[in-house]
Symmetry: C2
Subunit: 128 residues, 2 copies
Amino acid sequence: MNRMRIGDLTERAGVTQRTVRYYESIGLLPSGEREGNGHHYYTEETVARLQKIDQLKKVGLSLEDIRDVIELYFTDTSGVLPKRKVLGILRQHLADTDQKLEALGQFRSDLQSNIERFERWLEANDGD
Amino acid sequence: MNRMRIGDLTERAGVTQRTVRYYESIGLLPSGEREGNGHHYYTEETVARLQKIDQLKKVGLSLEDIRDVIELYFTDTSGVLPKRKVLGILRQHLADTDQKLEALGQFRSDLQSNIERFERWLEANDGD
DNA sequence: TGCAAACATGACGTTAACGTCATATTATAT
DNA sequence: ATATAATATGACGTTAACGTCATGTTTGCA
């Protein structure tokens, strides 16, 4: 189904209309083209884009961060963007991501050992 | 230096007084004991606690999440907490963390390949 | 053609995690 | 003893990322 209106779009992408309009308002999502009537029309790519945004949010990126990188997923980057600047941004994101990965890994191992400690305790005190 | 007031505490921990009072107000930090005068006094442990909170924030946890787990770092968990409940919470956090790790890893590899693509492009178009 | 459902736009509300005064009391250096 | 610095408390402000009304126009179906 190509060329849909906001109702179908939001159902397919699992977001609300408010979210779509908000994303449009901050330039994260291109405003679907308006017909003479004033309605916006969207395509499959818009769906994919919303899903990608959702993924990146789960990574812990802010909408502003996402705006920095989202184009990489959906446009031919051959002539569009000021390349060196984008490269700088990407490297920064990479560094940030590595930091996060390390912190998250440490946290995971803390959790793990605490869980094991509790399990051992519960096992030892079975009667309670 | 043990037994300090909020000024030294915040300097050592690298947070503002507002942050400390906010954390106290939501029960994330135990309110330093008040003397007759009304002032609060803190210890080295408070500093460590604030630093731990900061670490966990970088992991992407909300203050509420942190409240769930912070005690594990600072109290003898042998009799204090309703153990089975805590264990459930910990397992949930572990699952969430694994999700995040996977998403973050995927994002990292996307970034990496995009960076490489840009680098190749810049190398190929050196004159620009 | 009539009318409910879908869409557009604007405005105000909400939560988290604090920031920023303002004011009053306590502590400290001279 | 007094001026200055530090602390306590309260209240209002702020940003992100939307939620929730209210109101008006458009569309789709009987």
